[in-house]
Amino acid sequence: MKRESQLSRQRKRAAWLFLTPMLAVLAAVALWPLLKTIYFGFTDASLDDLAGARWIGFRNFLEYVDYGDGTGEYYGLLADPTWWNAVRNTLFFTVVSVVFETILGMIVALVLNANFRGRGFMRAAILIPWAIPTIVSAKMWAWMMHDQFGILNDIGLSLGLISTPIAWTASADTAMAAVIIVDIWKTTPFMALLILAGLQMIPGDIYEAARIDGVNPIKVFWRVTLPLVRPALMVAVIFRGLDSMRIFDLIYVLTPNNAQTTSMSVYARQNLFEFDKFAYGSAASTLLFLTIAIITILYIWAGRVSFDGGR
């Protein structure tokens, strides 16, 4: 009895010893920079003078400037139309791309879950878009979407789908569509693989029973498959959703300096390092962090997602 507790004490001590380096690194690389960013959001820090930052309260977020003659104006992020434009872009991008990725990912997963010749090849082919660096896929698609020499316009013209070449990435009407198309291409594989893992956990005899009873396959999908993959689907959707909310690389490279596609992350980085409004950019980063945190908590609470795999 004595020996047992001594042993477990020794193990607990070792456990904390083992955890400390990892926790210290995480604190240094995540916790402290996060707190520092939030702090900068409440100061007047500029890129050249971070040390001289002074506390200015909520002025980066919202401030009413009274002109003394009975009129006045609101300043700050919450009164900034370009910020709200970035919020709208991000939310629109997230909702549309995640919806498409879920539907297409489900289709691809159902295909991969079927038994057919060449299934191994298909699984490998699906991984290619996932493995390609985002920057490379942005460049590849930028070339395919080129207004003069792009293959997309060539296909569209020869099939008669479009009558004149489209400047996919430059035109205000299509820039967001271009970003969404590339994102769907790049991340549907991830979605499909997560859903596939969920599909493979469904015991085969359920399908067998449905087949013997002669249940319509579409009904089987809605009544059996979908409810049973729901946990895997929920996790996949939240992962993709959070990832889309912070989108930066693809937009930065595919459609640079385009108000139609500027996301919250792009807006924050522009202010931090390009417009010399470091504190303002920090405030924007803080708001993005808050938005994502709140959405995550709501989603987990509403969907009762279990991250522990039912343990």
Binding site: K12, A15, W16, F18, L19, M22, L26, V29, A30, P33, L34, K36, T37, F40, V108, V111, F116, G118, A124, A125, I126, L127, I128, P129, W130, A131, I132, P133, T134, V136, S137, K139, W143, M144, H146, F149, I151, W185, P189, L193, A197, A232, V235, L242, M245, R246, D249, Y252, V253, M264, S265, L272, F273, G281, S285, L288, F289, I292, F307, G309
Partner: protein, 274 residues
């Protein structure tokens, strides 16, 4: 009826495969074109010219950028695996108060938007004097590789039976010996999987690499490719960009095809269980 159904199914399979593979195939076709051939749309290679590859590999900093990416990604994998395997032992095999809270906290870090720490990290990296150095990337990349490797290795270790440890405990082995002598040999598959995923994540990272390095020699390949530009807006060297893209992507595609099964199991362990 059955025949039509089968046919439709295979058409669907074909469509998915073409959409998945075509853009990369087209990048390869483009990379072998030179001069005015670039401005004609071809669906298969007509002539093969290595001019773009030679130009990318002999002029500019691309070879150096490639080496930078290899160094950073390798260092990130080594450090995060070392930190994660010991942490995973503690989280998976030892019962202590606050264990699940700790796991949840670590998981939540992986949901951080990178931009939320950018300003703070920038100040820190300048303060530490590692701005413009590859160290800044090795350090900052821990934010996304550590939570993930800890999580996957923890779930893997938790599934191992208690018996494998018992003999070592009875023999009086210390926890460090148990980790290195008992678990390490069993963990190779999990280490390879998580290492690969961490490598790919580090190899592809853009935002930190763009922000913490401002000199062309120290850049990593994603940033180098993003910044390749011609003399003017109308002279973008698409041939060079495609050649560089193929060079950085081929190693990844080869790795992915070789370790296909491991990668899928790692992705889903990180996903479905966390």
């Amino acid at each position: 009826m059955k025949l039509i159904k089968n046919l439709l199914f295979y058409v669907l399979v074909l469509v998915i495969a073409v959409i998945a593979i075509f853009p990369f195939y087209y990048a390869i076709v483009t990379s072998f074109k030179s001069g005015t051939a670039l401005f004609e749309v071809d669906y298969w290679p007509k002539v093969i010219s290595l001019a773009n590859y030679i130009s990318v590999l002999t002029t500019g900093n691309f070879p150096r950028n490639f080496l930078n990416s290899v160094i950073v990604s390798t260092a990130v994998v080594a450090i995060s695996l070392l930190l994660a395997i010991t942490a995973a032992f503690a989280l998976a095999r030892v019962r202590f108060r606050g264990r699940s809270l700790l796991l949840l906290t670590i998981l939540s870090v992986s949901m951080f938007p990178q931009i939320a720490v950018l300003a703070g990290l920038f100040e820190m990296i300048r303060g530490m004097g590692i701005y413009n150095s590859l160290l800044s990337l090795v350090f900052s990349y821990m934010i996304f590789t550590l939570p993930f490797t800890v999580w996957v290795l923890t779930t893997f270790m938790r599934d191992l039976p208690i018996e494998i440890e018992e003999a070592a405990i009875v023999d009086g082995a210390k926890p460090w010996t148990i980790v290195t002598k008992v678990f390490m040999p069993l963990m190779w598959p999990a280490l390879v999987t998580t290492g690969l995923l961490a490598f790919i994540a580090a190899w592809n990272e853009f935002l930190f690499a763009l922000t913490f390095i401002s000199n062309d020699v120290q850049r990593t390949v994603p940033v180098a490719i993003a910044l390749i530009s011609g003399a003017s807006e109308f002279e973008v060297p698409w041939g060079n960009i495609m050649a560089a893209s193929v060079i950085v992507t081929v190693p990844l595609v080869v790795l992915v095809l070789i370790f296909q099964r491991k990668i899928i199991s790692g992705l889903t362990a990180g996903g479905v269980k966390g």
